[in-house]
């Protein structure tokens, strides 16, 4: 136990050191020195993973709040706070990643004054700003309670229903607009991924990926904080996840067929077969956990459920990375530099650390905080 903790601590420190070094290089010598980006591949890991995946995995925030505050699914209430916290931290990290990726980040404020409503990036910028604000307000009662500011806490809580509705709308726009970004590339994006339905595909996969992330995050929390897994709640999420993955896959294949590119997926051997292979890997990662989640035996076992969540998160990540990398001709020869990877790992590490910090000091998990010590016979994921 001691050795394991030491290992993680040293790993985190090593990642932070590498990330700080990469940060210095990035901001003193420019993007070219720190990244493998080029004019042919202007968006790399920081856009494809940090932004596209970060936003998608934060989708648990709007789905769970909508389920609880709009649809009155009271059973999901215990996981609202961790889901909102995950989403809030996710969005903060996306903003930090954007500051790394933008060539001239000091001009970012201009998006608020100089409008170009024809640009999807303009929509993205506004969604990031507004939804981060919504998440901050949704998260704020935890902080106010801790500080003993009762009136502020009550005020923030009283606005939860309209806030949730706003969060749903902004998230829907944001998740879909990340797909819309690629609509302008009809000739550059591989036909296995280019589709006029990209905004919808991104929305459905984000909902599924966000729910998978809640399952993943619950499993990790159970392990890290010695808490019982909310199995009956997560089992419901797994079911909902399957429904959304099913809709996503239906849309995906219907669209491929409609555009006459279902056969393109069969090009798995020979020259230029990488896209088709990545397509099938992505398919497998979506289909297998979704199919297994149909069985209640898989959904009701903590270990298996956790495995399903992890695989589905992986499927989601691969889909986003395929769109942003594999689907571009230049992307097939792009691999991120170690500094791009270091910054990404640093942001993830900071996110995990911030989550731990919040759980230690705020009432993120309702009910008794350390179930393991009180009730050692509980089902504990380990």
């Amino acid at each position: 136990m001691m050795i394991r903790r030491l290992f993680w601590r040293w790993l985190a420190l090593a990642i932070l050191a590498a990330g700080v070094y990469a940060t210095i290089v990035r901001f003193t010598q420019g993007l070219g020195a720190a990244t493998n980006l080029s004019d042919q591949m202007p968006w790399g890991l920081w856009v494809g993973f940090d932004v596209l995946c970060g936003v998608g995995l934060a989708a648990g925030g709007f789905t769970i709040t909508t389920a609880v505050y709009i649809l009155h699914l009271e059973k999901l209430r215990p996981i609202v706070r961790p889901a909102v916290l995950t989403a809030f931290l996710g969005y903060l990290l996306v903003i930090v990643a954007l500051l790394y990726d933008l060539g001239r980040p000091w001009n970012i404020w201009r998006a608020t004054v100089m409008w170009n409503p024809r640009s999807v990036m303009f929509e993205v910028a506004w969604c990031v700003m507004l939804y981060t604000t919504v998440l901050a307000v949704e998260f704020s009662p935890l902080l106010f309670d801790r500080l003993g500011w009762r009136r502020a806490s009550r005020a923030a809580r009283s606005a939860i229903v309209p806030l949730t509705a706003a969060g749903f709308i902004l998230s829907t726009l944001h998740q879909s607009s990340l797909g819309s970004l690629y609509l302008i590339l009809p000739t550059k994006l591989h036909p296995l991924w280019y589709s006029p339905l990209l905004p919808w595909l991104f929305w459905f996969s984000a909902v599924a990926g966000g729910l998978a992330m809640v399952i993943f995050e619950s499993g990790m929390s159970a392990r890290a904080f010695g808490r019982a897994l909310e199995l009956d709640v997560l089992e419901k999420l797994a079911r909902a996840m399957t429904v959304f993955v099913g809709l996503f896959l239906f849309l995906r294949w219907w669209d491929l067929g409609r555009r006459g590119h279902a056969a393109t997926a069969l090009h798995v051997w020979g020259a230029d077969s990488l896209p088709a292979r990545m397509f099938w890997l992505e398919m497998a990662l979506f289909v297998i956990p979704a199919a297994l989640a149909l069985s209640s035996r898989w959904r009701r076992s903590p270990q298996r459920l956790f495995g399903l969540g992890c695989t589905m998160v992986g499927a989601f990540l691969l889909h986003r990375l395929n769109v942003s990398t594999t689907a571009l001709a230049a992307g097939q020869s792009y691999f991120p530099s170690w500094m791009e990877i270091a910054v990404t790992l640093m942001l993830v590490t900071l996110g995990v650390a911030a989550f731990r910090f919040a759980v230690r000091h705020l009432a993120v998990f309702e009910g008794p905080r350390r179930m393991k010590e009180e009730r050692p016979t509980q089902v504990v994921y380990a």
């Binding site: 004019d39 909508t66 001009n107 749903f168 000739t187």
Partner: protein, 252 residues
């Protein structure tokens, strides 16, 4: 609206246009360079069945440019007289323009702390002063002409009609992505010149525009549906609570 007509058959590869471009924009002259942040136009040589062919590349100055439509703050603009111009001072460096350009023209200063985009500006200032572009002025063979777009289209058609055996029966840029302000006529296929074939004839901003136009109705209907669902489920919960109370009412 101004345009450039590039007649590939007339280009002798002297590089006068490149030199003039570098001089007009204060850029370093470099032999054999690719388009780059400091190389707004390049002359290239390609071996074909019809011998060595020289051609040049530069920003196509689309009539409805993808780069200008995707720029979130309007740092790239299409001017009514033709040029697509770039304003570095407001650019935030998202590089969506680099990603979106179907001709892979905009190039980025990757090794700068305050990176700028580099691309041909169509000598926008010279046009305003009634001059033609530096490259057109320098061209000794008339391979690059500068003038009104409609006039140049007419010239192009006349040249093709006069020597149908020589020219391919197509003006590249007349209709590609909705038309461009740089037009090519050639005796070798355009793809050998590195110009993408099979581009849609519809301007690319239409592709994102269709998605963006769905937003207002989507926001409206989502709001209504959410309000309805909230009201329904709230009412359901209330009824359930009331039922529970009446059932347990006797015992209380």
């Amino acid at each position: 609206m101004f345009a450039l007509l590039i007649d590939v058959t007339r280009c002798v590869g002297c590089g006068a246009c490149v030199a003039a471009c570098c001089e007009a924009n204060g850029l370093p002259l470099e032999e054999g360079a690719d388009l780059g942040p400091y190389h707004y136009t390049v002359v290239r040589k390609v071996r074909t069945r019809r011998g060595e062919v020289y051609y040049r590349l530069l920003c196509m100055h689309c009539l409805d440019p993808a780069c200008a439509s995707v720029c979130p703050i309007g740092a790239l603009k299409k001017r009514p007289d033709g040029p697509v111009t770039y304003n570095a001072s407001i650019c935030m460096g998202c590089r969506y323009c680099v990603q979106a350009c179907p001709f892979e023209v905009p190039r980025y200063e990757w090794n700068s702390r305050a990176p700028k985009l580099g691309k041909c500006s169509f000598c926008a200032e010279r046009l305003q002063h009634g001059q033609v572009t530096a490259c057109a002025e320098a061209c000794p063979t008339g391979a690059t002409l500068c003038g009104e777009r409609n006039e140049l289209l007419k010239v192009a058609r006349e040249r093709i009609a006069a020597e149908p055996g020589k020219y391919l029966p197509k003006i590249y840029g007349e209709r590609e992505v909705g038309g461009t302000s740089v037009l090519y006529i050639s005796h070798v296929p355009f793809r050998t010149l590195g110009l993408p074939e099979h581009l849609p004839l519809e301007p690319l901003p239409g592709y994102t525009g269709r998605a963006l136009s769905q937003i207002p109705p989507l926001v409206g209907s989502a709001g209504i549906v959410l309000a309805g669902l909230w009201w329904l489920t709230d009412r359901k919960a209330e009824v359930a609570r009331a039922e529970r109370e009446t059932r347990s009412g006797g015992r209380r």
